[in-house]
Amino acid sequence: MRQTAAPLLGIGLVVSLVLLLQWAIGVGLVDEYTVPRPSEIAAALPRLVTEEHVASRFMVTVGETFAAGALATLVGTALGAALYRWPLMRRSFEPWVAVLAAAPLVLAYPLFLVLFGRSSLTVVVIAFASALPPVVLQTVTGFAAVRPVLLAVGRSLGMGRAAEFRRILLPAALPSVFTGLRLALMFGLINVVGVEFLINLGGLGALINDLSERYDLPGTWAAIGVVVLVSVCFFATLDGGERWLRRRG
């Protein structure tokens, strides 16, 4: 009962806010030239599909986000594990990783354009660089937070380093690592769409740029809605992945 109540409550809130906005525009509280009516935004969606090829742009954005996220996962967990394994490295480099996490990398996009050209590669590299720090930080934090007694259990059962990593460290750190992956996904997707928008290339970001320059406000908002859909898909996949890994423990 309570399990179904929570998502229903969430959806209910969003629907209520949308209806509230529709009403506020209807009675003139909000200017309809500033914010289009939700009903108009919904009506713009079919147009995006037939005229703006939103499906292929969706796939481009998904592909770039996936590439950046997968790279950040592989490199970030490996770096996080290395920082945990060698405390000197952790003390030396962890603050710099945190600094990188706070840096507005997207502002350096001209540099990346020069280095990698006006291509999907630039988009992926910037998104990867911004998605990496949370994975590294959450991985090293997750490993470091494993209770020593759990490792003592492993040693008392004669487990080697590899088995200890696979069967104790990794499952114990998993929730923290997945928090890092969720953050990475957010930063990655924001940067993918942001850079697409800035260099007007490829996926949904470029589409939003086009539509806004044409003053097609319902279309712009509908395209932003599709970006939200991308993040929903990724989050659902991550949740499923975490549950699957937990079961395998």
């Binding site: 209770r147 759990l150 003592a152 259990v153 008392s156 059962l157 004669g158 069967r167 114990a172 423990g249």
Partner: protein
């Protein structure tokens, strides 16, 4: 079964170091239940870690079944003071963990794990996660997991220290029952006199820093014992005799720690 000979462990440098365990020697016979008791800071846990193969002694030797211990020994099973269930595994998968490491198939290891879950009185909780259990139940899961590895020597480091008095007595009963059933050779580290008397064939009393062997006391109470044994006069006498020994050490510990 277990032989400890001239065991000494020093921490720190020669000049300002601390001798945690000083020249301790004793033996445990197969099937025997021995408790080590002493005031806080007497080096009980250090002794435990060395016998478990998790720390190396400064000098002296531990051997299990005639083999010197130079790391965790497959014949030795350990239950730690701190509850150590794997929170991502169900009760049955926690208990089956050593069997999984040994390469047993799932059906087989679950069947064996069930026996030990029954033994610690957790039937019906096989599919629960540790977070759904009380502290005492989680510690029982840990005991079952250690037993599932079929150790020939069971080492327990104050496994009931974090539990309330009633749970301690009931768990003590459970451990006694298991010990009768398996004829399990057991070394229990504890600071509880009643626990030591209730469970043990012999009690080893340690001195406060440096941790030396003060006395070996044989507990003559008839077996099988249960929690009810704590009310008998013989039990009271045994407790009083141990307390006389310990009181001296504990007050010395308090004075030294205070001054």
């Amino acid at each position: 079964m277990l032989s400890v000979a001239g065991l000494t462990k020093r921490f720190g440098s020669q000049a300002d170091g601390v001798t945690a365990v000083d020249d301790v020697s004793f033996d445990i016979r197969p099937g025997e239940f021995v408790s080590v008791i002493g005031p806080s800071g007497c080096g009980k846990s250090t002794l435990f870690n060395i016998i478990a193969g998790l720390q190396t002694p400064t000098s002296g030797q531990v051997s299990v079944e005639g083999q010197p211990v130079r790391g965790p020994h497959p014949a030795v099973g350990t239950v730690f003071q701190e509850e150590s269930c794997f929170p991502w595994r169900t009760v049955i998968d926690n208990v089956a963990f050593p069997l999984e490491l040994a390469g047993l198939a799932k059906a087989q290891r679950h069947e064996q794990a069930k026996q030990f879950i029954d033994m610690v009185g957790l039937r019906g909780f096989e599919r629960r996660m540790p977070s759904e259990l009380s502290g005492g139940m989680r510690q029982r899961v840990c005991i079952a997991r250690t037993l599932a590895a079929k150790p020939r020597l069971l080492l327990m480091d104050e496994p009931f220290a974090a539990l309330d008095e009633q749970t301690r007595l009931l768990l003590g009963d459970k451990v006694l029952q298991i010990q009768q059933e398996l004829r399990q050779t057991t070394l229990l580290i504890t600071h509880s006199i009643t626990e030591a008397v209730q469970l043990s064939d012999r009690v080893l009393v340690m001195t406060y820093r440096p941790g030396r062997l003060k006395r070996f006391v044989t507990i003559e109470l008839p077996r099988p014992r249960s929690g009810d044994a704590v009310t008998s006069p013989a039990f009271g006498a045994a407790v009083a005799s141990l307390w006389a020994d310990l009181r001296e050490e504990a007050s010395r510990g308090m004075q030294e720690a205070g001054g």
